[in-house]
């Protein structure tokens, strides 16, 4: 069992891939928090807590849900929207939830507009610009999600969550696997349930 833990950075200008540090992905029914395998139930609670604590909790939907390329994708998009609306209802004044798309993976020159999108080649521009301290990836192809998650861990203190439709992401601080409409809705429910029980970081948050 690896002693490495996947924690908010900034870790290093080029942090190691968590998999290369011995972190293993969860099996079905499980999730991981900081690289430690946990029952999925625990991950819902922790993800909801992190969202409710954050100053700028943000959802980054990727191409697999932004585009209605099949029925399931369109339904997931609706669930993601619901999650965002729930988050908006459940935060306290001063917290600013955001919904910013990752529409594609192309290297954009000279740089992206961080107000309206996040790009896997420059993810930190969006994190820094919007002072995002907690984010969730959903609907991003796994390879691109891993690149982004690792760069964010390398250069920012943002807490990263992955709602992955496949095997999960060790490069996120918290990762679900086999994401579905139900799982996204369950996270929204958990946030609703924990509303008001979590103290936001507002007073202690450092200004960037």
């Amino acid at each position: 069992m690896s002693t490495y833990r996947v924690l908010p950075g900034p870790e290093h200008f080029l942090p190691p891939a968590a998999a290369s540090m011995g972190i293993r992905l969860p099996n079905p029914g499980e999730a991981h928090i900081h690289g430690v395998i946990v029952p999925e139930e625990q991950a819902y609670e922790e993800a909801a807590r992190q969202f409710l604590m954050a100053k700028v909790p943000t959802i980054f939907p990727g191409p697999l849900v932004l585009w209605a390329w099949n029925e399931k994708a369109a339904k997931k998009a609706t669930a993601v929207r619901h999650l965002f609306e729930t988050l908006k209802e459940c935060v306290q004044p001063g917290q600013k939830p955001m919904l910013i798309p990752m529409p594609d993976y192309r290297p954009k020159y000279p740089k992206i507009n961080p107000e309206i999108e996040i790009n896997p080649n420059h993810p930190n521009l969006t994190i820094w610009h919007n002072k995002i301290d907690c984010c969730m990836f959903v609907g991003v192809h796994c390879h691109q999600a891993n690149l982004s998650l690792k760069i964010i861990r390398g250069g920012t203190s943002c807490y990263t969550i992955a709602m992955c439709a496949q095997a999960g992401h060790e490069d996120a601080m918290l990762s679900f696997r086999d994401a579905s409409v139900d799982k996204i809705m369950k996270l929204a429910e958990t946030i609703k349930r924990l509303k008001g029980t979590v103290q936001p970081r507002l007073s202690t948050a450092k200004s960037h």
Partner: protein, 403 residues
Amino acid sequence: MAETQSLIGTQNKKGQTYTDPWYMLNEALRTPSFFTGSEVIKEAIRRASCDIMIAYPITPQSEAAALIGELFAEGYVGDYFRGESEFAVMSQCAGASFGGARVFTTTAGPGTMRAMENFPMWAGARLPIQMIVTCRGINSPLSIQPDTLEISYLLNTGMMVWHAETAQDFFDWILKGFIVAEEPDVHLPLALCCDGFFVTHTKDVVQLTPADMCLPPYDPYRSPVPCMDMECPPVRMMRDPFVMKSNYISYATHASWQQEVWAAVERSRKHAIRWLDGLIDAENTDAEIMIVASGTAVSQGREAIRMLEDEGVRCGLVKIKTLRPWPADEIREATKHAKHIFVPEFNVTGWLAKEIRATIPDHHRVYAGPHVCGGMTMPPEIIVSEIKTALGMKTFSLAGRGS
């Protein structure tokens, strides 16, 4: 769009039933058959729901590559053709894989070297192509005898590299190889290596899975990167753009991309352990003398151990199944009691011994040899002789040493 899980239980056009791979490979009744290694490759591919195989002649894989052509003619493989060179073949395989097909090819020795530029590209592009390498000599003067030098070049490509010992390994690992390679968290090419002739051209009893069962088809929409078929988002997509251009963070992207390829090799560990029943096999790990080997050197090592037992020398064995991922922890554990570790290899450079030396504590315990340097088989007698000489025991003279 193929939801492959839902296809299990249905039939393909040849009347084979798409079967749960774990059931097919671990529980279904097996039939013993007496086949050459080349025929075994054919039988595995018959059951692999392979979309495309691209062939090119080079000894000793030509027979297998031609036999898969027969499968195509019978309708078991979707498409098949002879490419113009190994470099082209590996690019054609890449094109088919980018397009969402399950792709298989075979190669050997100098052909593998000719195609080499493709392999890190395959890995970087996360293409789960399976390539059989039937190892043979690569350097001048020409040799078609087993050598394993080409494996050492493959070790740093980002591909998974497995080294089969027997035809039975080969049959099982071809099928298991597709499963591990196509896992979305892995999704990497696999070089499944064997020692040419010893495995390809000798007959052996192999336990085959039922011919009316086959693997579920490949689902390109579980891939960690978009499939290039204009059926999935994002529509504005190049596989793969030069991300090292632009500003500093993009340099980090390129570096992270490289790390991600190797992270995927690491992730294959969990799946390979499950499907191959561990990355190594170990016997008598309490012995003071250990032979650590991969490929047919394991078989010869096993025979040497039997001969040594007759003389009262106890010796253990480690069979390394996967070279990438590299079973470092397993090798350290299996050799922790050993005072002398022998690494017999077919190649002249002793790359496996170097890998082991870099892995274990007290690496002076490793004896890099014997080496037969391609061009000949590896008689167990020379392994016995190597061990006895190192231990200061009297040993017979080998004709090859000219005494």
